[in-house]
């Protein structure tokens, strides 16, 4: 335990960003991301990130715009945001991916207003699903820190060149103090090569980024982004292995499993609830219940093949969502998992639950209740395909 030190999750992530040697950090503080950018502004002011320029911008819209300018000029960039801040970036997120700029941004996941909530769920990043950004989700502060150099290495690959969000749960992981290995500078230098883009904005060799595309060429640009995402499927796996070789830590590539091999009930989740689920599964396994967990680490690119392979022997699949598509009454994992299984020979019922929205706590008993509902559904069939499991009926 000698390398471990008790720090706040935000500090672990800020430190991880520092050792990735970013050249430019434009950032705007917003709860619960604030501690990350506060720490980075201190690092920058103390000269601990070399010649890094920390830009205090006046909004998240400016932050993402500055990220684009800096990255197009060849700088490695970093920023962090959440919720309304991420939403304010929305239109520019498309520009970043369309211009093939490998921006790295930490998202401290938080609910969307209104009603105002500063607490955790995944609605903010899920709402940005189609912006062309890679999205990975971490289960604890160590994984969130370790994910930072990993996403740089993934998105700066010349075959990928897409921006990435490294997502971790606001408050639950940003504000927790626990033992974490702070990423070593020498190991990170060994793991992550300097940013060397093929194309940059350079007055001596003028180029245009994000130019006008008429109907004759537009779809091809979009398709090439898709090719970049496809390349990321493999890269996310190899980068996780390379990270393990150098640092000795592994969290899965696109997905990870816990008691998955012989599981009849497969819970599917992402983010901080993974840890709580693992503890509950230890208990349920001791009682002889064949329950397993499929952890989704990469939401974009969506690991369709890996998921099909992981769940094909289950009796029931239970996606657990911290987001909702209002008007479909299900969360993103539920929708995507169901879509992944159609047009295959896999015919397994999918029972979706939503919970933990707006920071509502997820006690172990709630996971157990979900498992017992799934057991009933195996026998009796599914009556309601998707629902909130923690709704307070008395307030309706």
């Amino acid at each position: 335990m000698s390398k471990l030190t008790v720090v706040e999750g935000s500090y672990a992530v800020a430190h991880a960003a520092k050792v990735c040697r970013p050249d430019v950090i434009p950032a705007y503080p917003i709860t619960p991301q604030t501690h990350i950018v506060e720490e980075l502004s201190k690092f920058a002011a103390n000269g601990e990130i070399g010649a890094c320029e920390y830009i205090t911008v006046e909004s998240e819209f400016s932050a993402i715009s500055a990220l684009i300018g800096a990255c197009a000029a060849g700088a490695r960039t970093y920023s962090a945001t959440t919720s309304q801040g991420l939403a304010l970036m929305h239109e520019v997120l498309f520009n970043a991916s369309g211009m093939r700029l490998p921006l790295v941004m930490t998202v401290a996941n938080r609910a969307m207003s209104a009603p105002l909530s500063i607490w955790n769920d995944h609605q903010d990043s899920i709402a940005q699903r189609d912006t062309g950004w890679i999205q990975l989700y971490a289960e604890d502060p160590q994984e969130a820190a370790d994910m930072t150099p990993q996403v740089y290495k993934i998105c700066e690959d010349n075959k990928i060149m897409l921006p990435a969000m490294a997502c971790f749960d606001g408050f639950i992981l940003t504000h927790v103090y626990e033992p974490v290995v702070l990423l070593e500078q020498d190991l990170t230098d060994e793991f992550l090569p300097p940013f060397a883009p093929e194309h940059i904005l350079d007055p001596s060799n003028p180029k245009t980024f994000g130019a006008f595309a008429d109907p004759g060429v537009y779809s091809e640009f979009r398709y090439m982004q898709e090719l970049g995402m496809s390349a990321a499927l493999k890269k996310i796996e190899t980068v996780a292995d390379e990270f393990n070789e150098i640092y000795g830590r592994y969290y899965g590539g696109l997905i990870d499993g816990y008691y998955l091999d012989d599981a009849e009930i497969v819970l599917v989740a992402m983010g901080s609830v993974i840890g709580t689920i693992k503890d509950v599964l230890d208990e349920l396994r001791a009682e002889g219940k064949k329950v397993g967990l499929l952890k989704i680490r990469s939401f974009r690119p969506f690991p369709t093949d890996a998921i099909r392979n992981a769940v094909k022997n289950a009796a029931i699949i239970v996606p657990l969502d911290k987001s909702i598509s209002i008007g479909k009454y299900e969360g993103a994992l539920c929708t995507e998992i169901k879509a992944s299984l159609y047009n295959t020979k896999i015919d397994i019922p999918v029972l979706g639950y939503m919970f933990g929205h707006g920071g509502r706590d997820i006690p172990p008993e709630r996971i157990k209740k979900i498992v017992s509902e799934a057991e009933k559904a195996i026998v009796n069939g599914i009556t309601i395909e998707s629902s909130y499991v923690d709704l307070r009926e008395e307030l309706l």
């Binding site: 335990m1 471990l4 008790v6 706040e8 500063i118 607490w119 604890d140 408050f171 639950i172 992981l173 504000h175 927790v176 103090y177 626990e178 033992p179 901080s272 609830v273 993974i274 840890g275 709580t276 693992k278 503890d279 920071g359 706590d361 997820i362 006690p363 172990p364």
Partner: protein, 180 residues
């Protein structure tokens, strides 16, 4: 795993106390986790913070519902919230009060009282009781070594303030150890 819930009011340093417990437990060679109840903290409003201590890495991310220990920084909270809620049968509640522990109403679990405010005024010169109660916690429970608490407190607060806080930890530890 041992679970601790700290009740206080905004500005009393409940979250800091939870963090320092985690740091001290780790200093003892254990795994630990500390987190606030994620409220929008305002000065004077009830605040809750949690610490978990275990021999193996802690994965659980839910709030603490059945604490082994409860620390109450401000006895006026007892009239406002159920500070004993969910406490384990063999659990312990440590309350900062000048009253006798036995005379506190509505609490069925084992209760120990300490006049942390008096110790804070005498030793630190200010009514900030969070570090005092950490010393009391170590003395009453034996879950964390006194030296580890003192080291955590001494590293968090620098200079004279740090020294005074460490001395207050000592005083509270001795006061509780005598009763434990």
């Amino acid at each position: 795993m041992k679970e601790i819930r700290i009740h206080g009011r905004g500005g009393q340093g409940s979250v800091t106390a939870a963090e320092l417990l985690a740091v001290a437990a780790f200093e003892d060679g254990k795994y630990s986790q500390a987190f606030p109840s994620f409220g929008v903290e305002r000065r004077g409003a009830p605040v809750v913070a949690f610490t978990r201590i275990d021999d193996k890495p802690i994965r659980m991310r839910s709030q603490v519902y059945e604490p082994d220990y409860v620390v109450v920084q401000d006895a006026t909270l007892i009239d406002v919230i159920d500070v004993a809620g969910g406490i384990k049968k063999d659990g312990l509640i440590i309350i900062n009060t000048e009253k006798d522990a036995g005379k506190l109403k509505n609490i069925s679990a084992k209760v120990m009282a300490i006049d942390a405010t008096k110790i804070a005024m005498d030793v630190i010169g200010r009514p900030i009781v969070n570090t005092v109660l950490l010393g009391a916690f170590a003395g009453a429970t034996g879950e964390i070594r006194l030296e580890s608490i003192k080291k955590a407190v001494g590293e968090r607060f620098s200079g004279k303030i740090g020294e005074k806080n460490v001395a207050a930890v000592d005083a509270a530890y001795k006061a509780m150890e005598a009763h434990a």
